[in-house]
C-alpha cells in the first residue's frame, strides 16, 4: 500500500499534463452543418472555443449588389432557411418603407400569420434536433410529424415547403389558397393537443433535465455585452423582441406576451422556445378570423429604384433580430447591402457559455443557441 502511494507521487512528478487542441467538425453531426470549432481542452474540460467560419461562404452580400431589389428577395431565403419568410419580409419592408408604399391590412395580416407559422416550424425542427443532440432520437420524428402539417400549408399557399419566396415588393405573390384558413385552424387544434406531448417526452425527462439545468449560464449583463439576441437572450431576462419593441406588419394589432426567463441556463433557453410556440399559436388565433377582403398586391413600378440614402429594417426571425441595411445611390442596384444575422451574433456567446464545461455540455449549448450555419457564413 505504502509502496503504491509512493509510486503515484513519483508518477505525478514525472508525467506532465498539458492543454491540447481538438477539432470539432467541419463534418460533425452535432454542429448542424459545416461548422468547425477548435477546442482548447484540459482533459475533458473546455478552456476555449474558437469557431472557424467560411466553409459555406457564398458572398451573398456581394451578389445582392449586382442584383435588382426584386432579385435580392430570393437570396435571403438562403441565409436562415428555417425562417425564410421573415428574411424575405425584412427586404420587402425595407424597400416598401424606402419607397413609401403602405400595404393594406390584408397583406399585413397574411404576412404575420405565415411568419408565425414559419417560426413554429423552425422551433419544431429545433426541438427535434435538440432531442437528438442530447441523445433522444424519438423527438425528431414527433417534431417532423407536426412540422409536416405546416409544410403542407406552405406548399399549398406559397408553392414551396421551405424557401417559400411568398413576399414580393408591395404585397404577396399569390392570394391565400381557399383552404388556407381551414387548414391553419385544423393545425392549431392539432398542435394544441400535441404540444403537451413535447413536455412529457423531453422537458420533464430526468436525463434531459440533468443535462440542461445549470449548464451554460449567461447573465443578463453578459448577454448584452456579447450582443446576443432572440430567444437565447430572452432566456437571460433581456427584453429584445423586435415584434414588441419596433412592431412591423400586423404585430401592433395583436396582444401577445414576450416570453422571458431569468435563469439563463440551457434549460431556460429550451423553455423559452417551447413557450414561444404557444405565443405563436396565440397570435395566429387572434388574426386568422380577421383577414379582410382586399387586394393581395399593391401597384408598384416595374423597375424599382430606391431613393438616394441609407435604409435599415429589423425583423424578428425565429433566431432573433435580423437586420437588413441598404445603401443606395438612386440606381437599380444597391451600392452596399448588409445583413445582420442573429445566428452570427449568438455564436459570440458560445465561448463564454462553455467555459470550464465538458464537451458534452458544448453540444447542448450549441444546440440551445440554435444556429443555422448558412446564416453565419453568408
Amino acid at each position: 500500500m505504502e509502496n503504491q502511494m509512493e509510486n503515484q507521487e513519483f508518477l505525478a512528478d514525472k508525467i506532465r499534463t498539458q492543454e491540447y487542441q481538438l477539432n470539432m467538425g467541419p463534418q460533425h453531426p452535432a454542429t448542424h452543418g459545416v461548422m468547425r470549432m477548435i477546442l482548447q481542452l484540459d482533459g475533458e474540460e473546455i478552456k476555449n472555443v474558437e469557431p472557424v467560419l467560411g466553409y459555406i461562404h457564398r458572398s451573398i452580400e456581394k451578389m445582392c449588389e449586382k442584383s435588382s431589389y426584386k432579385q435580392i428577395i430570393h437570396l435571403t431565403d438562403r441565409l436562415d432557411y428555417l425562417s425564410s419568410h421573415m428574411n424575405n419580409e425584412a427586404v420587402t419592408l425595407l424597400v416598401e418603407n424606402a419607397l413609401g408604399i403602405e400595404v393594406n391590412d390584408r397583406i399585413k395580416i397574411i404576412r404575420t400569420i405565415i411568419a408565425e407559422l414559419t417560426r413554429m416550424a423552425s422551433h419544431q425542427l429545433w426541438w427535434g434536433v435538440m432531442g437528438m443532440d442530447t441523445g433522444a432520437l424519438t423527438t425528431f420524428m414527433y417534431a417532423f410529424r407536426d412540422r409536416e402539417l405546416i409544410n403542407e400549408i406552405m406548399e399549398e399557399t406559397c408553392g414551396a415547403r421551405l424557401t417559400m419566396n411568398y413576399n414580393i415588393i408591395g404585397g404577396l405573390r399569390y392570394d391565400i389558397h381557399d383552404n388556407f384558413v381551414k387548414r391553419v385552424k385544423e393545425f392549431i387544434v392539432h398542435f394544441k393537443e400535441k404540444l403537451p406531448e413535447y413536455d412529457n417526452l423531453l422537458s420533464n425527462n430526468v436525463i434531459f433535465r440533468k443535462r440542461t439545468e445549470g449548464v451554460g449560464i449567461m447573465t443578463k449583463e453578459q448577454v448584452i455585452a456579447y450582443g446576443m439576441n432572440g430567444p437565447t437572450a430572452r432566456a437571460s431576462g433581456f427584453e429584445c423582441d423586435i415584434r414588441k419593441k419596433l412592431p412591423y406588419s400586423a404585430y401592433g394589432m395583436v396582444d401577445f406576451e414576450e416570453v422571458l426567463r431569468t435563469e439563463g441556463d440551457a434549460f431556460a433557453r429550451y423553455k423559452v422556445r417551447i413557450d414561444e410556440m404557444w405565443q405563436s399559436m396565440n397570435i395566429i388565433e387572434q388574426l386568422i378570423d380577421k383577414i379582410p377582403e382586399d387586394d393581395f398586391r399593391m401597384k408598384t413600378k416595374p423597375i424599382i429604384k430606391l431613393p438616394k440614402g441609407d435604409f435599415l429594417q429589423r425583423v424578428e426571425t425565429a433566431r432573433g433580430d435580423f437586420g437588413v441595411y441598404a445603401m443606395s445611390d438612386g440606381g437599380k442596384n444597391p451600392t452596399r447591402f448588409k445583413f445582420r444575422s442573429p445566428s452570427f451574433a449568438n455564436l459570440h456567446g458560445l465561448n463564454k457559455m462553455s467555459e470550464n464545461t465538458k464537451i458534452g455540455d458544448l453540444v447542448v449549448n450549441f444546440s440551445t443557441i440554435d444556429v443555422v450555419v448558412p446564416d453565419i457564413d453568408r
Partner: protein, 164 residues
Amino acid sequence: MSYFKDIFNAVKTLLTGMKITGRYFFVNLFTRRDVITVQYPDNIDTLKMHDRFRGEVIMGHDENNMHQCDACTICENACPNGTIEIIWDKEKNPETGKTQKVLLNHIYHLEMCTMCGECIEACPSDAIEWGQNFHHVTRDRSNLTKSLNRPESILNPNFVKSKK
C-alpha cells in the same frame, strides 16, 4: 432517502415518455392510424402535387403546337442566376411584311434554377408557367439543360401581350 426518491422520480418521468411512445407504437401496430412515414416511390402514380407547387418552369403549348413566346427576353433579364437563355432570330412576316423576332430555342438550365419565380412573374404574355414535376434525378448534369419550346412549334398568331 432522497436517493430513492430521485430514482423513483426518474423512473416516473421515463415512464411518462414511454407511455406516449408506447401508445403510438401499439395503436399504429394494429390500426396504422397515425403512421406518418411514407415509402418514397410507393404513391408515385397517384401522387398529385398542389397547383402552385414550383417544380420546374415549362412552356405551355396548345393542340396546334403553338406557344405564346415572342422572344422578348424579359424573363432572361429577370432571372437572378442566368438560368434562362433565349436564342432568337429576325424573320420577315409574310402577311404584314414587318420584321419580327422569332423564338428558335428557349433554353432552361434546371440545374441552376432556384425556383424563385421572377421569370414567370415578369413574363408579359404568360408563355411560361410552373410545372409540378419534381423528379429531376438524373445521372448526367447535361440532362438538366432543357429546351422549353417543342420542336417545330410556332408562335400563336392570336397571342396578346398583356400589360402587367
